[in-house]
Every structure is written in C-alpha cells, then in structure tokens.
C-alpha cells in the first residue's frame, strides 16, 4: 500500500472511532450532571453527628454518675462559659474569628482545577 500524504490523511479521517463500553455514558452522567443529591448536606450530617455524640455523652454520664456527675459537669461548663463570655477580650477574639471566617468563605466558593501541561507529555516528546 503506497499511500501518498492525502490518501493517508483520508484513510485516517475515515477511521471509525472506538466503540465505548456499554453504560459508559450513563455512568459519566450519573457521576456528573445527574448525580443524585445526597440525602443530607454536610452541615446536616455534622449537626446529626454532634447531636449523636452529645446523646452518647449524656447517656454515659447518667449511667456512670446517676445524674450527679452530669449536673456537676453542666454547672462547670456553664460557669466556664459565662466567665469566658463576660470577658471583653474573649468576645473581641470571637468576633474577629467570626469575621475572618465569613471573609474567607467569600473566596472559597469553588475550587478551580487548573489543567497544566503534563510533565510526562513533555518528556515523551524528547
């Protein structure tokens, strides 16, 4: 087969594409555009986890101390929280932290993926 450049180009362009495996398109779409939304959002899951942890903690405290230890712990936490929150310095730090978190959240809405030229691709060309 002595092909000239044009004939080879034509033969290449006429070459049929590989047949993708069955179900490939469906699996791509299920992983992207038609991805089912999760039953719970991240925040809801975090909240549920926290509630579960508090529930277990309460149960353990009640089971171990018959309630006395539980109330004592609550009182300790309450006293600590009221002491901390009555301090202007603590309140100022909390406000600063909240403001910083809010400010940062404005810039982290999406995580762009940069497609850079691949090093192995460059190496392969040598």
């Amino acid at each position: 087969m002595n092909m000239d450049d044009n004939a080879l180009d034509q033969a290449l362009f006429a070459l049929p594409l590989e047949e993708p495996p069955a179900g490939l398109r469906a699996s791509i779409l299920l992983a992207t555009a038609y991805r089912p939304s999760p039953a719970f959002s991240f925040l809801e899951l975090a909240l549920l986890g926290a509630l579960g942890a508090v529930g277990i903690w309460l149960f353990v405290l009640l089971a171990l101390g018959g309630g006395t230890l539980f109330f004592h712990t609550l009182q300790t936490i309450g006293a600590f929280a009221s002491r901390a929150l009555s301090s202007p310095a603590t309140l100022a730090w909390l406000a600063a932290g909240g403001a910083t978190a809010l400010w940062l959240s404005l810039f982290t809405g999406s995580q762009p993926l940069v497609v850079a030229p691949h090093r192995s691709g460059r190496r392969a060309s040598r």
Binding site: M1, L24, H118, S125
Partner: protein
C-alpha cells in the same frame, strides 16, 4: 431544522444549573474521549476509567473553562493528562522498563492476516511508539488543527508537526510491510 447549540453555550447553560446541557456535551464527546484514552492506554477498563475521570474533572472545573476556547481541546487535554497519570503509575509499578508500547502486540506479519484497510491502519497505529500514536490519534480527532493538538499535548507546534510527519512516515512503512506480508 434546529441548529445545534455551540459547546460554549452548553458550558454556560451547565454553569447556570442545566444538567441537560452537560449531558449534550457528554453525548458529543464521550466517544472521541474514549477513543483517545483507548488508543493511549490500550486497555478497555483503564480507558473507561480515564474517560469517566476526564468528564468528572471537567464537570467540577467547568468554571475554569475559558469562553471562546474549544471545549474539545479542553476535554482532550484533561483526558490526555488522566492517561499520562495512568501510564506513569503503570511505569512506577512495573518491575522492569516498559516497552514503547503499553501492551505488546503481535508484529506486522501476524497483524496483516485477513485485515481490511481500517483494521490494518488501526494495527499500524497501535504499533507506533506512544508519542507518535497520541499525535496521530489527535490528528484523527481534531483534523489539521495543529495548534489545538499542541494545546492538548502541551508541546510546541513545531514539535507536533515533526511528530506527525514521522508518525505518518512510520505508518506508511508499516502499512507497506503489512501489504508485502499479505501478498
């Protein structure tokens, strides 16, 4: 007759929350992306995974797609990088140096038996070294748009043209060898 929406418009629609638009892009390019992945990796499962990975990454980073550029070039570049990652992983785990081809195939003599022209051409492309095979595959997919091929591969246009010239030379030689063997 209703005009087909352009890729750029489909990207914009997807970003506005229209999943049908991305589905149209997938329908348009999944076969070509799979073809590129399969020709590069020579493995059905890996090509399938690389194709899925490419579309998943594209979907996640659709905001970084530059309006006015070609979606095909962008998705091919993502797919090519996914394939390169897989080839690198293969090389890392292989106990010995890999040959130029990803999988050893029978030589031109065996390949030539009872093959029609398309199959013969495909076998000849498969016998090319990896860098030439990829350039020829992209030439097949993108046509004579050398700048787009260069963008996908991250290579200078001159290098792409040189690779293409050498790839075609080798293809002609391999096809000639196959014909001699057959007759």
């Amino acid at each position: 007759m209703k005009a087909e929406p352009e890729d750029g418009n489909l990207v914009a629609l997807t970003l506005r929350g229209n999943p049908e638009a991305f589905a149209t892009l997938v329908e348009r390019y999944d076969r070509a992306v799979y073809h590129l992945a399969y020709r590069t990796l020579h493995d059905v499962e890996e090509a399938r995974d690389a194709t899925q990975e490419a579309f998943f990454k594209a979907f996640r980073s659709l905001r970084t797609f530059k309006p006015g550029s070609k979606f095909s070039t962008w998705i091919f570049a993502i797919a090519y990088h996914a394939c390169c990652d897989r080839l690198n992983r293969r090389k890392r785990y292989a106990s010995e140096e890999l040959p130029e081809r990803a999988d050893p195939a029978p030589g031109p003599e065996q390949q030539a038996i009872a093959l029609d022209q398309a199959a013969r051409l495909r076998a000849a492309i498969d016998a090319l070294p990896e860098k030439y095979r990829t350039v020829i595959t992209l030439f097949h997919l993108q046509g004579k748009q050398y700048d787009e091929i260069a963008n996908v591969l991250g290579l200078p246009m001159g290098t792409v043209k040189t690779h293409l010239f050498r790839a075609k030379e080798q293809l002609r030689r391999l096809l000639g060898e196959m014909e001699v063997t057959e007759s």
